[in-house]
Structure formats: C-alpha cells, structure tokens
C-alpha cells in the first residue's frame, strides 16, 4: 500500500499542502484562484503545527497499519480497505460519535467545523489522477508517497 511519508526537517510551514487539500475537496470545483480561502466549508484534511523551536510538524493521515480510528468506529463508517490499504470514510454511515477523533494517535481527524456531523478525513485524493494533491503541491518535497507493508 501507499503512504504519505514526511521529512519534517524540510517543511517550511508554507501551508501549500493545506491549500491544495482544500482545493482538491471543494465544492463546486474550480481553480485555485477562486478557492474561497476564508470559507470554513473548505476545510483542509492535513495541517501543520509549529514545533516552537522554529521548525514545523506536518500532520497527515497515516492510513495506519492498525488504524485506531477504524477499530474504534462503531457504525462501520471507517474501514481499512484490503486491496488499497487505505482507511476510507463513508459519511452516510457516520454516527458522529467522534470516537475516531479521540482515538487518532496523530490528532489528524477532526469533526467538520460548520456542522459537527461528519469527520474530515484524508481520502488520498483517490479521485485525482496520480498522487495526492498535497504531495503534488509541496514545493520542498517534504512529503512524498512511498510503498509500505500494509
């Protein structure tokens, strides 16, 4: 399976990964120029934290080998796909209990800001042609996709 790998020493905190993620998941579709940067509907599925020492910690979904989110999901909305190894989220099945949010060891999952009825979760940009948007748009190549053991 594929996983987004991170070299935090290369991250400049430019947040281009976040802008790219917002752009990849916005509705309706459009160009990066007309993405509404201040609309809470356009949430990013990744984020960058400052480490307090001048460095940055890019936080991306790991699609973990043993995903705590999926294991704690009672409604079956979160599942680790056998063939791709990706942890997928089905909004229709979600009961908004947010056990996944509490259990994610990386703090990457979050309830959506506006309605608090669903989870904001990385989908690896499966609809996009090649690699996730965040990876494509990182100018420092601090994140990349790598094949790992499921």
């Amino acid at each position: 399976m594929k996983r987004i790998m991170i070299d935090d020493s290369k991250c400049d905190g430019c947040k281009n990964c976040s802008a790219a993620c917002m752009q990849a998941h916005r509705e309706p579709a459009g160009s990066i120029y007309d993405l509404d940067m201040s609309d809470p509907k356009n949430e990013t599925r990744n984020h960058i934290l400052a480490d307090g020492k001048g460095g940055y910690r890019p936080i991306f979904c790991r699609h973990c080998t043993l995903p705590e989110c999926a294991m704690s999901c009672m409604s079956g909305a979160l599942n680790k796909e056998k063939d791709t190894g990706l942890v997928r989220y089905d909004e229709k099945k979600c009961g908004a209990c947010f056990m996944c949010v509490m259990n994610c060891p990386y703090g990457v999952l979050k309830p959506d800001t506006l309605t608090r009825t669903k989870v904001i979760k990385c989908d690896f940009c499966l609809e996009a042609d090649s690699e996730p948007s965040c990876v494509k748009n990182c100018p420092k190549k601090a994140i990349w996709v790598q094949e790992v053991q499921a």
Binding site: C14, K15, N16, S18, A19, A20, M22, Q23, I32, Y33, D34, L35, M37, S38, D39, P40, K41, N42, E43, T44, T113, K136, N137, C138, P139
Partner: protein
Amino acid sequence: MNNCFGCNTCKSADKPLEAFIASLPLETSHHRVESQRTKCGFGLQGVCCRLCSNGPCRITPDAPRGICGANADTIVTRNFLRAVAAGSGCYIHVVENTALNLKNTARAKGPIKGEKALERLCQLFDISGSSLYEKAEKAADAVISDLYKPEYVQMELVEKLAYKPRFEKWKELGILPGGAKSEVFRGVVKCSTNLNSDPVDMLVDCLRLGISTGLYGLVLTNLLNDVLLGEPELRFAPVGLRVINPDYINIMITGHQHSMFTDLQERLIQPEAVAKAKAVGAKGFKLVGCTCVGQDLQLRGSHYTEIFDGHAGNNYTSEAILATGAIDAVLSEFNCTLPGIEPICEELKIKQICLDSVAKKANAELMEFPFTERAHQGELIIDKIVEAYAARRGALNLDFSQANAEWKPLIDALMGAYKSIHKDVPLNLLPDHGNDNTLTGVSEVSLKAFLGGKWKPLIDLIAAGEIKGLAGVVGCSNLTAGGHDVLSVELTKELIAKDILVLTAGCSSGGIENCGLMTPEAAQMAGPKLRAVCEKLGIPPVLNFGPCLAIGRLEIVASEMAEELGVDLPQLPLVLSAAQWLEEQALADGAYGLALGLPLHLGLPPFITGSKVAVKVLTEDMKQLTGGQLIINSDAKESAELLEKIILEKRSALNI
C-alpha cells in the same frame, strides 16, 4: 556540445524557437518553468501578507484575519496597490528620462528628427516659440513640471491630453491625478503597514495611478520620442533570430528607454567606429532589437536602416538570441532584461553594459552617461564592445600572403600557437527563424495617413460589419499562460478568425510577429470578411504598434475614432487583452485601460482573487464607475468568445 540541457523546456507558440531552446547546452527561463511549477496558493490569490514582522500571515478558514486584523480584502488590495504603484513608477521614470533627454538635446541644439511631431505637441500644449529648440525645451519642461507637482496639485496636461468625455468622467469620479511621481509616493505610503485598510479606497487610487501612467508614461513617452527620434513610417521588416548577422559586431539592446541610444547609434555608424570594428575583423556594428526598446527601434526603423538589423524577439526570446553566440554585448537600460541572461552572458563571454542604474544587472558594468559626457562615454562603450568582440570572435584576421617566404614557417607556427589558445565562441544561429515581411511602423499618425488622413474608412468598415471590431492584444509575454506566447498567439488567431482586427503593442507583439501573424499572408488566417479587407489593402490582420509604451498610441486611435463618431470610449466596439501580462507595469497599464472604460482581458489573475470585494469591484462595479471591466480567462477560445460577445453588445448599442 549540442546536447539537450534537461529536455524539459516549456511550450512556445513559436515552434522553431521552442525546438531551438530545447536543444541548447545552456539553461534558460524556459527550462526553469518545470521546477517552479508548484505555486503557492496563498500567493496566487494575493492573501499572503508580509508587510510586517508578525507575518507572513495567510488567510485560511481557521484564520480569516492576519495577526493585525487585516482581512483578505485589505491584504489583497494593499498588495495590488503596491504593484500598481511600482508599475506606475517604472513608466514615470521612463517618461521623465525621455523628457530630460529632449530638454538636453534642445539645449545643446542637437538633432530633432520629428519636426511635425514637435508641432503637434506644441499645438496640444499651447506652446509657441521662435525656434525648434525653444519649442522642444518648452514642451519637455511642460511634461517635467507636471511630473514633479505635489499630489495635491492636479497635473495640467491631463485635460489637454485626455479625450474630453473621459476627462469629465474622471473629474466626476474625483480621480484626476496630482503630480505623477507624487501619486506613486502616495500609493506606496497608503499600502504600508497598518495604514489604509479600505479596499475600495485603494482600488480608486489604482485608477488615479492608471491615468497618470497612461497619459504620461505611455502617451507622452511616444510623443516625446517621436520628436527626438523620428516618427514611425509604415514598412516591411525582417523579424526573428534571422536578423542577426554574424559578420558584424552585434549589440543586443533591452529595455524601454529608446532615447538613451540616440547618440550612441549615430556614433556607431561613424567611419571612426566602423574602422575600429574592421580592425578586429568585423564589417561594422549592428543593433539587434530585443524587448520593447527593439520594438520601438523597429517602429522607427526607416530612420535607422544602417545600424538596426531588425527585431529579434521579446523578453523571453532574449536568452535564445544570446545563445546564437553572435551577440557580443548587451546594452540594457530598463526592465524586461531578465536576470537569467547573466549566466549566459558569462558563459558566452558577452559584455553586459547597463546605461541606467535603476536596472543595474549583477554582471553588467554600469556606464550611466550624463548628457554632457555622452561623447566620451559613447566612445568608451564602443571600445569595450570591440574588446569583447575580439575576445569572443576575434580570430586574427591578418593577410600574410605577401609575406616573405623565409618568414612563412615562423608565421605559420605563431598563428598555429595563437589558434590553439584562442577559441572563438561557437555560433549556433537559426537563420530561418521569423520572417522577412512583418509590417511595422504603425502609429496613430502613419495608420491614419494610410487610411487617407482620416479614420472614416476604418469606421465605415466597422459600421458595415466588414470588420467586427477592434481588439488590442497588448502587454508582456510570460511562460505560464499555456507557455511562451501561447495564449497571446492563440487568442489573436481566434480573434482574427472572428473578423476582429487586432492591434498589438508590447512583448506580445514580439511573439505574434515571430509567429508570422503580421505578414500580409496571415490574412488567410482571418475570417472571410477581415481577410477580404486585408487582401484589398495589402495589410496583415494584426497591426503592430511596437513597444508596450505604444498602448498609448492605441488609446489615441480609439479616442480619435470615438471623437469622429461622437461617442465615449466605452461605447466603441473595442476590447483590450493583456493575455500574458507579466510585470507590475502591465498592472499599471491595466488600471489605465479600466480608467478609459475599456473591457480588459487578462489570461492570469493579478493576485486579487482572494478578495471578494476586489473581484466584484474590478469585474462588475467598474462598469458603472468608468465603464471598464476586468475579464479573467486563460483559455484562448473562451476568451475570444467573451471578447466577441462584448464587441457584439457594443455594436448593437451603437445600432450597427
């Protein structure tokens, strides 16, 4: 040697040039597009602020305000006003130097090539005088005194230069500019840290800057240059890399201040200078046009046939021109002189000389010349260029055929030793690039004269629908809107196919002409009606007004036509497109277009889309204010359709 350096160059509308650049053993800007492909989304939208040390702050859903509290509208319009003010400053610098050159030339009783142009200026400015020189000095002074007025004193020539209904509109809107330099000052101050936060107020300032940029930086620079350098005359001229003649010492010129070269270009054809060239094995000197200063020389080329070989290409063709190996020196004086030419000049031992410190290049020797020092400084420049030629291409050109046979072995040995040490820079010419018959020399005066001294024939053609309307495709060339000149050229093709006559000015001209659209044969690419008009008149469907400064000439054409029709500018079936705008100067030009009330198309957004207010004001509300409107679209076909629709709307409003 001819190995591909990365094979990763961007597309160009000019296919032979694209192949040439891809084959170069040097890195050019065309190679770097790929490695700069990832763009910052916040930067693209203009919602990144780094005015203070709290920043950079960026607008996101979690952070809709910067630390100081500035929202997206404030951040975007502050950035935009900064850009427009800087762009305006550049053009005002150009007109200031041009006026000073005219003043100094008049004082020194130097050559005044455009007497008719001077008469026209005097009439426009209400100036009288007993001699040519007195009038020229007064005209130059009139411009300079306006430029130096404070921001709270309105410039006097605005009313004389502007089309009357426009002047009235600007007065009504309260956007008549004060002294042009002070306007730049005010713009810069206004958008500094924690001063203005009102997006609309800052956009209004952009309009004021647009007016001062347009009337002074554009319109007047042309009129002053016409006096100094001679007026454009219609003629056919060669364009593209073919203009480079390796038998000569070739000097590539880049920039926007043509009047800086007047003395030097006369000096370069004097027998003493030619003798210096011959002594190192060249036939003499040639200027090779590049960027807008090349366009301007080409426009007036009929006055400079001996020294000027032709226009080789625009800003993003300059590296290819240098890579031919046949350029011995670059004389630069203003923008569009890419920093990327520096390593190429170093590699190919090309001498870089800069004539204006505002555009000092890292490699270049700065040789500003005060007017009184021009003779001495000119000679010094010539000597340095000759020296560069000798070092680059100066294989000894001596005739030993008459030498005593006894000395022959020694001479051969010495020559052999010399040749083993001295390696000429290899030539890599592209002699078939471009074409030989691009129509040039188009100006508001020469075009009107061609039409029989009045605009009526053109107006009649438009009224009869033979020409659907006019489109000015102006401004820069960049490498990102589809590739080098791709959008400009494709849009132009789409427009002429719709029977819309295209007028061009700026680096866009350089690309469009190298692609052959300014030759009479290009009429075949026009729609049936425009094609018939072009074939009847023997003209191409795209008329080249020369440098970006000549956007001012397009405005004169439009104003004169509007006057003849008794309408205001926004009513004309006329649209503008700076499809591949590149620089801040283009944004100041664009602000002028909007102040004139014209629809202005841009291929790429000017980093404003992060602000709803800026987008709404520029794309919608402007129609009610000045009549202008901004249209952003990067697709050639869609853009042409949008522009055609506007032209058709304006036609039906005029009942034609």
